[in-house]
Amino acid sequence: MVPTMVDVNKPSSGTLNREAFSKAKATGATIEFQSVRKAYGSVTALHDFSLTIHPGEFLTILGSSGSGKTTALNALAGFSGADSGDILIDGKSVIDEPPERRNLGMVFQNYSLFPHMTVFDNIAFPLRMRRAPRREINERVERVLEIVRLGALARRMPRDLSGGQQQRVAFARAIVFEPPVLLMDEPLGALDLKLREALQFEIKEIQHQLGCTVVYVTHDQREALAMSSRIVVLRDGRIEQVGTPSEMYDAPKSRFVADFIGQTNLLAADLSMAGSVSISELGAVYRDADSRARQGAWYASVRPEKLQRRPAEGSDIAVDVTVQEAVFLGDVIEYSARTAHGALIHFREQRRDRDRIPERGETIGLVLRPSDVVLVPDLAKTGR
């Protein structure tokens, strides 16, 4: 059989270089999706998906199930073709290449460790498929086992490992050949919360060391915020918004993104041609010159931490609410409360020393800066 891989990291001498692995950062690749479209029967899973992912970027494709995020990843991995469009890695079209010729590392949702191979053999697999010499395989596998701190378990079978250990073996197997691109399909989904958070940091740290481009797929917006350099929110096979985590949180461009990323209060807003915004559920009216040009159904997105208990100043919006529930979380107290206009809103505040927690039924005054209100259109209603 002919060798099917071109190892981009392979020096001309023909052997993989240990120095290169330990010192030089593998440079991540650029990935370009060009109007990729994929349909399954009558269902279009991905509509004209276009996106450029920069070298070394940690890009998260975020969406709920059926949003097309797995379709996009599978198209990049080569598991399912695209009906139209192209995918370029470092400027070269890979759309007609089978998965084994794309030189991508991948961590699967259920790890997909080979059950009949030891931890060592699992990790050595991509190197063996690339026909690396035995000595080099040993060196690389040992090194990567050290990186994921599993050296002692090299001879174990996958079934003898805990979920977290299996996840790290899958990760080691995906990076052992220093791929310029690492794909991760909900890699932490099967783990409990605490382990998930610990591994988030580890994955980030190792990615910094390796410098590879990461395409990460998840439905967990907290994971996306914590790990990504950029997030793509997919909805019904279309890109809803692309941006850094803080852009997505602070300046969502649609009701869907505002609601999907972080917690928020979404309240119907009336925008007048005269340039005033009225949020009837808060009993608030304020001026916003931008609102004149806006049409259709709009919502005011108010993050829970933006509603504060403090004296009103300047143009602040004051809202009186009746406390429904106060949830004590240690450093933070989360409230749900009802406005005089009947809307249920959520807000939270940092707990200062020995603050008295308002009781159910108590009426308290909240203050909100108009600049903290983000107006978002409901794209589903206004059309695209």
């Binding site: 059989m1 598991f79 997909s112 080979f114 009949h116 003898d160 490992l161």
Partner: protein
């Protein structure tokens, strides 16, 4: 690195640690009673007959069965034929099982049904079918003569080849079924993983699918081998005198010559030989792969 999830460390996983509670053992009772009356007791009785000579206990029956002579030849012939038939079933059945297992589940039902249909027809009828096909004026000969490929009818019936073909045909569905059921437990995402990690489809098959399905193939081999050992009707109808199987010989001893002692001894030899071969294969497979007959699946 902290690690919150604890899993059984024991190599054999949960299966070894878990004991069936006594209260659920009664579920085994019907099978155990049946097994006692239709297997243990009769085999015990046969074992007793086999060591009874003219005057009390004697090994003379075993001397006759295992000493140089026609009986030993037939015994080895039977083992050889069964070995060949089992191997042929695996070679022919594996690709078919692979094909079945790679269909989407909704398409499998019909295909499985097609494979299983022959099992609904009695072995006797199927064997008579082969007489019709292979006989002097059978389908194959008529066709060959019709197209002028041969001048006169070929001798196909009452040959070793006929026994092979007929026995493989009878046992093939069983082999396919056993291998198919192992193959369906193999997680297909493992093959996707092998591809993205650099394996061509062929190497993915060799390194991942083949080792994981080998357990099923070994199980299928053992089952078809044991079933073939006891074959009686098929070799009697389509084989010649040379293809006499030990089961035919036993029948002759019991029903014609009425030498129940020798028949019993031959029967015991067959049981022990079967156990020995199957045990050796199972041990060998374990040694080679480190897996039990039920291949890894996850």
């Amino acid at each position: 690195m902290s690690d919150g999830v604890a899993m059984p460390r024991d190599g054999k996983g949960a299966a070894r640690g878990r004991r069936a509670p006594l209260s659920s053992l009664w579920l085994l009772a019907p099978a155990a009673v049946l097994f006692l009356f239709v297997f243990i007791l009769p085999v015990g009785e046969v074992a007793l007959w086999s060591v009874q000579g003219e005057a009390g206990l004697s090994a003379e029956n075993y001397e006759a069965a295992l000493g140089a002579g026609p009986y030993r030849t037939i015994l080895f012939g039977t083992l050889q034929l069964s070995f060949g038939v089992a191997c042929a079933c695996i070679l022919v059945g594996y690709p078919a099982a692979y094909f079945l297992a790679s269909r989407p589940p909704r398409n499998r039902t019909l295909l499985l049904l097609l494979i299983l249909t022959p099992l609904w027809v009695s072995v006797l009828v199927r064997t008579f079918g082969w007489i019709v096909v292979l006989g002097r004026e059978g389908l194959v000969n008529s066709m060959l003569i019709g197209i002028g490929a041969v001048d006169g009818p070929l001798q196909m019936l009452y040959t070793r080849g006929a026994v092979y073909v007929a026995m493989v045909q009878v046992l093939l569905p069983v082999a396919i079924l056993v291998m198919f059921s192992t193959m369906t437990t193999i997680n297909r995402s493992l093959l996707m993983a092998s591809r993205i990690l650099g394996a061509s489809p062929w190497r993915g098959f060799v390194h991942i699918f083949l080792p994981l399905s080998a357990g099923g193939a070994v199980n299928a081999w053992m089952l078809t081998f044991v079933l073939a050992l006891g074959f009686f009707i098929t070799p009697a109808l389509v084989g010649g005198p040379k293809e006499t199987m030990i089961a035919n010989l036993i029948a002759t001893q019991i029903t014609l010559t009425l030498d129940w002692g020798l028949g019993s001894a031959l029967g015991m030899v067959l049981v022990v030989a079967g156990f020995a071969v199957v045990g050796a294969i199972a041990l060998l497979f374990r040694r080679v792969t480190g897996l039990s007959g039920h291949g890894g699946s996850r």
